[in-house]
């Protein structure tokens, strides 16, 4: 019960780390190690012989117990995303695919229609499909029905650091879903990741908040602790809210004075 199940895979870590925007490959690798993440995202890009050091496959494959989840970033249509998924599976040997289709570079909001079409195809091809979606409970349910292994609603716009601005919608998605709900995008601080886990998310995906921190490895470690704390707190059972004070110390028999 303490492991995260995605398709036929199980993970003890509930923090999924993105590998973009780090100042160097070594900073990224240190952060991945510090995060104890077992699932990390990568993006497919054209090989450039002048920048061969940009290739992350080698460095990431040296970390034991790590599974790659390629994303389809760059795809603007379902067709492009499916093509990227096929190439990524060939390269990674991993069945995981983060379906990410955002045609507008200004807001990077996922296209729900193309995302749905791509997921339908990829789920039928036995990928472990992890779609990045707007926080829409109806879409989330439809994606569950076509065989996605999770849904990943955005907390706020990619890289914005605006936190869990979609919290109320994410709560509805969690209530209605039979597959893991993972908040992906927009988180800025470990407390927000903790809140997402307390709310009932099965994992969180973080990239920018770690990558652009002054000390990415320390921030990765902080996120890992927050995710674990939030998960433990949810399982421990949060106390109910009350509209008024409820005393935690006895209010009678104070120093023998009768009142």
């Amino acid at each position: 019960m303490n492991s995260l199940r995605l398709g036929s895979y199980t993970f003890t870590s509930r923090l999924i780390l993105g590998t973009g925007k780090f100042s160097s490959v070594s900073a990224m690798i240190e952060a991945v190690r510090a995060s104890k993440a077992q699932l990390v995202t990568v993006a497919l890009r054209r090989f450039n012989r002048e920048q061969a050091e940009d290739d992350l496959f080698g460095p990431l494959s040296e970390i034991e117990g790590l599974t790659l989840m390629p994303n389809t970033s760059g795809a603007a249509t379902a067709k492009e995303a499916v093509k990227a998924a096929h190439i990524s599976r060939e390269l990674s040997g991993s069945p995981f695919i983060k379906v990410e289709i955002h045609p507008n570079p200004h807001h990077l909001m996922p296209d729900p229609i193309e995302t749905y079409e791509a997921c339908k195809i990829l789920a039928a091809e036995d990928f472990i499909v992890m779609p990045y979606i707007p926080a829409d409970p109806v879409l989330a349910k439809r994606l569950e029905e076509v065989g996605c292994s999770s849904v990943m609603p955005l907390g706020s716009a990619i890289g914005s650091g605006q936190g869990l601005s979609t919290a109320e919608m994410v709560k509805i998605i969690i209530r209605e879903s039979n597959i893991p709900v993972i908040v992906d995008a927009g988180l800025r601080s470990p407390s927000e990741a903790c809140a997402a886990m307390e709310m009932g998310c099965e994992a969180v995906l973080v990239n920018s908040a770690v990558a652009v921190a002054r000390d990415p490895a320390a921030m990765a470690s902080a996120f890992a602790k927050a995710v674990e704390a939030g998960f433990d707190a949810r399982n421990a059972g949060l106390m109910p809210r009350s509209g008024s004070a409820v005393a935690s110390s006895p209010l009678t028999s104070f120093l023998g004075a009768a009142r």
Binding site: G20, K21, T41, F47, A52, D54, F57, L91
Partner: protein, 69 residues
């Protein structure tokens, strides 16, 4: 020596006739790392790269994993 013309990652390239995908990877210094190769929309797996001979006007993509969220 006769040559062929291909498009590699969006750029025009000239290669000796009879070049295979494996030859191209050596030429690009990409033979020692893990890459995906797509020729005219078809993925060419590692065990087929020696025998896959490139043709005039082939569209070739060599891809790797970069950082991404």
């Amino acid at each position: 020596m006769s040559t062929i013309h291909i498009t590699l990652n969006g750029e025009k390239r000239e290669l000796p006739s009879g070049s295979s995908v494996a030859d191209l990877l050596k030429l690009e210094c990409a033979e020692s790392q893990k890459v995906a190769v797509v020729v005219n929309e078809n993925i060419v797996r590692p065990d087929k790269r020696e025998s896959a001979v490139l043709q005039e006007n082939d569209q070739v993509e060599i891809l790797v994993f970069a950082g991404g969220g």
